[in-house]
Symmetry: C2
Subunit: 281 residues, 2 copies
Amino acid sequence: MNIGILGLGLIGGSLGLDLRSQGYHVLGVSRRESTCERAVALGSVDEASVDISLLAKAEVVFICTPIGLIIPTFKQLIAHLPSNTVITDVGSVKAPIVNAIAPLWANFIGGHPMAGTADSGIEAAMRNLFKNKPYVLTPLASTPTATMTVVEKIVRDLGATLHHCSPEDHDRAVSWISHLPVMVSASLIAACMSETDQNLLQLAQKFASSGFRDTSRVGGGNPELGVMMARYNRTALLNSLQQYRHNLDKLMNLIEQEDWAALEQQLQSNQKARPEFVDGC
Amino acid sequence: MNIGILGLGLIGGSLGLDLRSQGYHVLGVSRRESTCERAVALGSVDEASVDISLLAKAEVVFICTPIGLIIPTFKQLIAHLPSNTVITDVGSVKAPIVNAIAPLWANFIGGHPMAGTADSGIEAAMRNLFKNKPYVLTPLASTPTATMTVVEKIVRDLGATLHHCSPEDHDRAVSWISHLPVMVSASLIAACMSETDQNLLQLAQKFASSGFRDTSRVGGGNPELGVMMARYNRTALLNSLQQYRHNLDKLMNLIEQEDWAALEQQLQSNQKARPEFVDGC
């Protein structure tokens, strides 16, 4: 089977590596000639081109561009494809993408592989990036069963754990566990940097250890990605942030009131709840 | 040199392992006979007893109890010591401890080894726990140079990186990079758990990945330790929390106003600032 990958970065490049090792013939398209050459050299794709029409012979196309480019890229792409080509994307927000694309292309299904590394670009592509990671598909009632089945088969071939939900539920769920942590963590760095006593700021920098390192990691990550999350998942993220602010206020109140019993109870609930999220991830 | 360790948990037990391997003779005291036996068996101490008077022959005593027990334990301890014995502690908050103990014991210096693991107790004790980690000493103007010198020598023997500051500066610095992250992270777990749609909560739990795992780690940790931080460092922590809340509000406003340029600028500042805290930790 010919699979097309449009956008040869970390996700597109890693997809290509695994799909080729599963026996698929992989066609890659990038805006840059140099990326096409690297993708072939690294073994991510069998063929690559800056010309989107290469994908005319693909049976399934994965759109792996940055989220802001998915819809415009899709619009260029479909001029070159027969209507039975299956299209899917890997964007980390689903409702705006699915709502824009599904009415224009029957054989489309939204997807989100929940995998990544701190790095980006074709050079960061790696084998088994998706193995044992969640891969969410967001079909609509109108999505043809055959379209769903073909993408499901590929997701399973990647060794990913397949999940299904509506685009809206996906966006609300990831706002809790992916987009909210970025903003919470970003505010931590911003707060620490606001210390105006330079001596104290330097002490804080010297004393920072694994607790600060882990809590600040996603808030110190790729700024463009953070903006995209906020921009495309704004409503769900604002809802999560408001709830977060409410929980922060409650915690601050307990400390102000010196209600140590209630604070301990809250921290105990957290300790008990966390494994439900992180076990196996 | 005889060194006494009062409290044989992760920190006390690990101190003993390293100090014995440096040739010190280590005397351990624990409230429990079984802990004394394990400490000897594991090689953490040369001798151990539930009787605090064992420490009468120590030249330096490290108080390694949980923070709430440091002051009462110190008061019991000094009944058994000659006045030239050097006393130090390893509590993660310094001003309340130093302010209580220094007036009662001239040869006291507060300390805080910034090292630990997720585990606790003598069984968790390990070699080189302090190696290349910050170890903060908080002398007062009244602290005798000889007292400072003897503890500094031991800290260097542990391979730790020695820092000095006032107890108050220590507490303000750790409120930024250690205690604030715990409360920020705790509020994240509490907010996610507040999702009342069970289907959505389960999706969030299934989709949670490394971003949530890292950002929630310290907020899902030992509840007693979290309460102790808040209790003993309340003023500095509340100040940090208020500043944090202010930064969170600013971020939420940018998202509400859809001011993506300003959001990107903030996230870029964070990305640039974070290495000043975490490089080398």
